[in-house]
Amino acid sequence: MAKPDRDAEFTEYVSARQGWLRRVAYLLCGDWHRADDLVQSSITKLYAHWHRASRADNVDGYARRTLVNTYLAEQRSGWARWTILHRFGGDGGGALELEPGPPAVGDLELGLDLKEALARLPPRQRATVVLRFYCDLSVEQTAQIMGCSQGNVKSQSSRGLATLRNLLDPNLTLVMEGPR
């Protein structure tokens, strides 16, 4: 049985940061119910490692990393691919699905809002954009969270921004946010 103070500490932290975790999760997945599932799964993992997380210099960073990893892992599941494919027409990382979906989204209509544009990013690009621009993390920090090289973060950022530019407005002028 966990120590009461550990439970209290954990409960206090999650209560205070739940709104923030939900927002990040929502930006990652674009659906509040799924965002709540992501947060639920993430805080469960967080609790299992609370002895380590609570000693971290940056508990928020630990929680965010857990959340992003949970999201990315889920993206590679068959369910997530189906959801992305059929709801958004996006790229879930590669899957052969047996049910026909809506027309393929090769048309990339312009004038999409930010929500839909984000939804059409492949998972790692989307996570990169959220971490870099919403969470305001550096390339190095983003690479650590996503478990990849800094170069990979740069390339994911580049592709993500290019895709968003295409979706939101074809005339966007791409300027680098570069390494920080």
Partner: protein
């Protein structure tokens, strides 16, 4: 809207949160489930259990064929121009083999995002066909071998013919339905490193994925060749460094449209430097500005630029005031060309050439026909 991407994401998250349904997050359940998870992990350790990630390898006929990767490149240098100058966009290599349907569609180079090229395949378009996700292979080039940055990644030596050193970096999956992610790194004869990874149009995992990546890798030849672009720029400001040159042309696999970007900065960190960029796309695809034209262009905290780059702006011939971004656009020979200026730290890189409009006047459109494009891009 005139917000940058960070502001847009902040606003979007706050607005959405205001309308969000009540949270279903259950902290008590997380504690209970977390305790069970911890207990299970201990039992697994005691029992010496090994988690097995069962990649469900499907027989993938579509990957059996070879794409004509070696056929004539639509972006090879064009003839017939009197331009002189250099090409900021060069290839890092050439695919000798690609899975069936894949074609090279994009290149980027520069100190901001590194050097890479991409191959795409066209997804099926009929509703009755089981839908395959678009597939993409990305080849990147590095001066030194990237280090695994996560403790849960594993590095496994492998063999790529012609390479002195190669390895696979695996990011493990999670459970039987979530396969591992593989990326292949190999050293070239020149000592640099290539990285190959990507998404696939079909489910390919494990040994099959390794074999596919290896086959593609062994076909890659280092190549530093200029990529033809649809504009010529007669005279850049002095003292600027290339941040990014990019051409994305999925049209070759029947998708979307092409677009090209050149970005230059004053030579320090691209996100903090004064910079300018040139974007090019077909006029037919140029439409309004529903959300955040600059959001994608701007680093967090960068100056806000005017709302609508589609609406041609005159630009200040004397250059925009330092610290205030501005842009100028024109339609010429079927191309919509914009110059975007982002001064910083009191420096405006375009001041010496008459601001964004001044640089725009130096740009010649070569149209949408790739036969007319040039590798003498910047003089």
């Amino acid at each position: 809207m005139t917000h940058d991407l960070k502001t847009s994401l902040d606003d979007f998250a706050e607005t959405a949160y205001a309308d969000a349904p009540p949270s279903t997050v259950d902290i008590g359940k997380a504690r209970a489930d977390g305790r069970r998870r911890t207990a299970t992990a201990r039992l697994t350790t005691i029992g010496g259990g090994v988690a097995v990630v069962a990649a469900c390898a499907l027989v993938v006929n579509t990957l059996g064929g070879a794409s004509p990767a070696g056929k004539a490149d639509p972006h090879s240098p064009a003839a017939g121009h009197a331009f002189t100058g250099t090409d900021p966009l060069t290839t890092i290599g050439r695919f000798g083999y690609l899975p069936d349907g894949f074609q090279t569609v994009g290149w980027n180079t520069g100190d901001a995002y590194g050097n890479a090229m991409r191959a795409l395949t066209k997804p099926p378009t009929t509703d009755t066909t089981p839908r395959l996700l678009p597939g993409m292979l990305t080849l990147s080039k590095w001066d030194s071998p990237p280090k695994p940055s996560s403790a849960n990644q594993t590095t496994t030596p492998t063999t790529v013919k012609g390479s002195p050193k190669a390895y696979i970096v695996t990011t493990p999956g999670d459970g039987p339905r979530i396969p591992a992610d593989l990326r292949l790194f190999w050293q070239t004869a020149s000592g640099s490193w290539f990285e190959l990874g990507g998404n696939y149009s079909v489910q390919v995992h494990g040994a099959e994925q390794t074999a596919l990546l290896t086959r593609v890798a062994e076909s890659v030849a280092e190549q530093d060749a200029p990529v033809a672009l649809p504009i010529h720029v007669e005279g850049l400001p002095k003292g600027v460094a290339l941040g990014l040159a990019m051409l994305n042309d999925p049209v070759v696999v029947g998708q979307g449209r092409f677009d090209a970007v050149l970005m230059y900065h004053t030579g320090g960190a691209p996100n903090k430097d004064a910079s300018f960029s040139i974007s090019v796309a077909p006029v037919a695809s140029a439409q309004g500005d529903p959300v955040t034209p600059n959001s994608l262009a701007q680093p967090p905290g960068a100056p806000v630029m005017p709302a609508d780059p589609q609406a041609p702006q005159s630009g200040d011939p004397s250059g925009s005031p330092a610290g205030q971004a501005s842009n100028a656009c024109k339609d010429e020979k079927g191309l919509h060309i914009c110059v975007h200026d982002t001064p910083a730290n009191g420096v405006d890189t375009l001041a010496s050439v008459g601001g964004p409009q001044g640089l725009l006047d130096r740009i010649t459109s070569l149209g949408t026909d790739r036969k007319d494009w040039t590798t003498h891009v910047v003089n």
